[in-house]
């Protein structure tokens, strides 16, 4: 394990303005990704995960009114770079894949063309050379008949195949970081497995780091090295996978893990968390989780708990980390 850091996000805050209201989507997060690491960013809807991922590549929509903090990629602060330099990075050093590949592929361009674009633009390949490379890539991502696939249109592929095309597009220039925003949500189980395995293979063979955004703890348990959990625009716990699952510290994490149904829990009541996930527009003061937290004290309503290191590699943002929750009735 090297000490060089691939991506370091420090105190990132992103605020939007919509209908004259300020919406703090991300409220000061720290996140570190090492080279070749599979880092899962977990959170429920509205937690700010997608906004975080778009911030890295600076692909946020125009109604962003505030973007603060630093995102250091190989020691260069991405937020300070010019748009031109960013364009060089996008698709080459840092790539992204998305949920619902049908929407994220141009319906009137052939699959091969869309993959070739990156290669030709970033690496200056000729059309012939690019085509060969696309063929290799398609094989690598497991598309059968790569030669034929190149000339097909997106709608001719199944969902799983479309996602493979997107992955081919993203890895075409050998990025050192791949951002994956819920790429397997709404896919069938079998296809999910294949895509996850594909990503893990690529991670291993190309030493590519993956920032994997999801709400699915099963995928995270299987594939991740490090997990960061987001709630209401803040990271409330971060740890290597084994540590997180054996000794979760934040009450939200613990309750979340207890909410997942399983065969073993038959006949018992599920844990669940009362209340609702807060909208970015109405975040409670102090610790955003306090209205739903069984451990909440006065302190939690007034102060925001900082993300602190509890033990090696394990950070938690809570005033009472690891304290026993009331047991299940």
């Amino acid at each position: 394990m090297g000490t060089e850091v691939l991506l370091e996000i420090k105190d990132l805050s992103v605020e939007f303005t919509a209908h004259q209201r300020r919406i703090p989507a991300v409220r000061g997060i720290d996140l570190t990704i090492l080279p070749g690491q599979f880092h899962a960013l977990v959170g429920e809807s509205g937690a700010g995960k997608t906004v975080t991922s778009l911030s890295i590549l600076r692909l946020l929509p125009p109604n962003v009114t505030s973007l603060r903090g630093s995102i250091k990629f190989n020691d260069h602060d991405l937020l300070q770079l010019s748009e031109e330099v960013m364009r060089n990075l996008r698709g080459r050093e840092i790539s992204m894949i998305f949920q619902e590949p049908a929407k994220y592929l141009n319906p009137s361009l052939k699959a091969g063309v869309q993959v070739m674009e990156s290669i030709r633009y970033h690496m200056g390949y000729s059309e012939k050379a690019a085509r060969e490379r696309v063929c290799e890539l398609f094989e690598k991502v497991g598309l059968s008949d790569p030669e034929l696939a190149i000339d097909r249109y997106p709608h001719e592929f199944s969902v799983g195949m479309k996602q493979r095309v997107m992955i081919a597009m993203a890895i075409s220039c050998n990025p050192s970081l791949l951002i994956a925003d819920e790429p397997t949500t709404s896919l069938d189980v079998g296809v999910q497995r294949q895509i996850i395995h594909l990503l893990l293979d690529l991670q291993r063979s190309s030493k590519m780091a993956i920032l994997y955004i999801t709400h699915d703890l099963g995928i995270v348990r299987y594939a991740a090295d490090v997990i960061s959990i987001m709630y209401a625009g803040k990271i409330i716990e971060s740890a290597p996978k084994d540590l997180l699952f054996t000794s979760p510290l934040h009450p939200y994490t613990r309750l979340l893990l207890a909410s997942i149904p399983s065969r073993e829990k038959r006949g018992t009541r599920l844990q669940g968390i009362p209340g609702t996930v807060p909208n970015p527009e109405d975040i409670p003061p102090g610790c955003a989780f306090h209205p739903r937290c069984p451990l909440a004290q006065q302190k939690c309503k007034e102060n925001v708990p900082p993300l602190v290191r509890i033990e090696a590699g394990h950070r938690c943002a809570c005033f009472f980390p690891g304290k026993e929750l009331r047991s299940n009735p």
Binding site: G190, P261, R263, R269, I273
Partner: protein, 272 residues
């Protein structure tokens, strides 16, 4: 004892469309199963397996192409159109998307009242019933005149459950009722459904793609693949001794949170 619901050789074929000959789609292929009173029949299937079609056909929201559905002694195929009104209140359905199931232009009181008005309740009776229902599903009564957009997804689903309950159903078909909700909210809804089942002696047909969920709450499990019921049986049986390879495939999913399969790094040393 006669089962509450009996489905016999249910088949649904959608005709092809278009000028050029298109092949008809067999959404359901010879499905048969029974549901006893008090069962939770968990139907697990992925997209395209026909689960929503099955849900609709059981309740005759769509007529099957062939096959019969029996509710107690009554054969639903033989029910005349004017008899359905009374029958419908006995069988309710809850869908996946809470947003499209509630009329966004009506305050929830109106949505909850509709069925009761149809059954001939007076205003006082309606108010009392609604108050009780909202209490049961955990929505404060003082929000009864709010509009759907003012509620969260989980709350909307609770309101929809209340609406279904208002009809005093015997059984409820639930088509992916929690799939659109966050994990932390899902548990609350599931607990609610289990409580209501006990209190009102309901029977559920619970459809989901999430095998963990089905494994958690079903008394009986059916596995749907490509329109066919490839396996059906008591939950414990199916979970411990799955017969069909597809069932085994679903059960051995390494991406399930509680899977006994080791995570990736331990596997990466061997072949996948």
């Amino acid at each position: 004892m006669k089962p509450l619901l009996r489905v016999e050789n249910l088949t649904k074929i959608y005709p092809g469309s278009g000028i050029i000959k298109r092949y008809p789609v067999k959404a359901l292929d010879n499905i048969s199963f029974t549901v006893e009173e008090g069962d939770i029949f968990g139907l697990v299937g992925e997209s395209g397996s026909g689960k929503t079609t099955l849900a609709r056909c059981i309740l005759f929201l769509e007529p099957p192409t062939s096959g019969k559905v029996y509710y107690g002694n009554l054969c639903l195929n033989d029910v005349a159109w004017y008899q359905w009104k009374k029958l419908r209140s006995r069988m309710q359905i809850i869908f996946q998307d809470p947003n499209s199931a509630l009329n966004p232009r009506l305050p929830i009181r109106r949505s909850l009242e509709e069925g009761l008005i149809n059954l001939g309740y007076s205003r006082k009776q309606r108010n009392d019933t609604i108050r009780k229902l909202l209490d049961q599903v955990g929505i404060p009564y003082n929000q009864v005149d709010w509009y759907p957009y003012e509620f969260s997804g989980g709350q909307k689903q609770r309101i929809i459950i209340a609406r279904a309950l208002s009809m005093n159903p015997k059984f409820i078909v639930l088509d992916e009722p929690v799939s659109n909700l966050d994990v932390s909210i899902q548990a609350g809804i599931i607990n609610l459904l289990m409580d209501l089942k006990k209190e009102f002696n309901l029977t559920y047909i619970f459809i989901s793609h999430d095998l963990d969920l089905i494994a958690y709450l079903s008394t009986k499990i059916g596995v749907l693949k490509g329109g066919q019921l490839v396996e059906v049986g008591k939950a414990e049986e199916v979970l411990t001794h799955p017969l069909h390879p597809y069932t085994r495939f679903l059960l051995e999913n390494p991406l399930s949170f509680h899977s006994r399969i080791q995570p990736w790094e331990t596997l990466s040393k061997e072949t996948i």
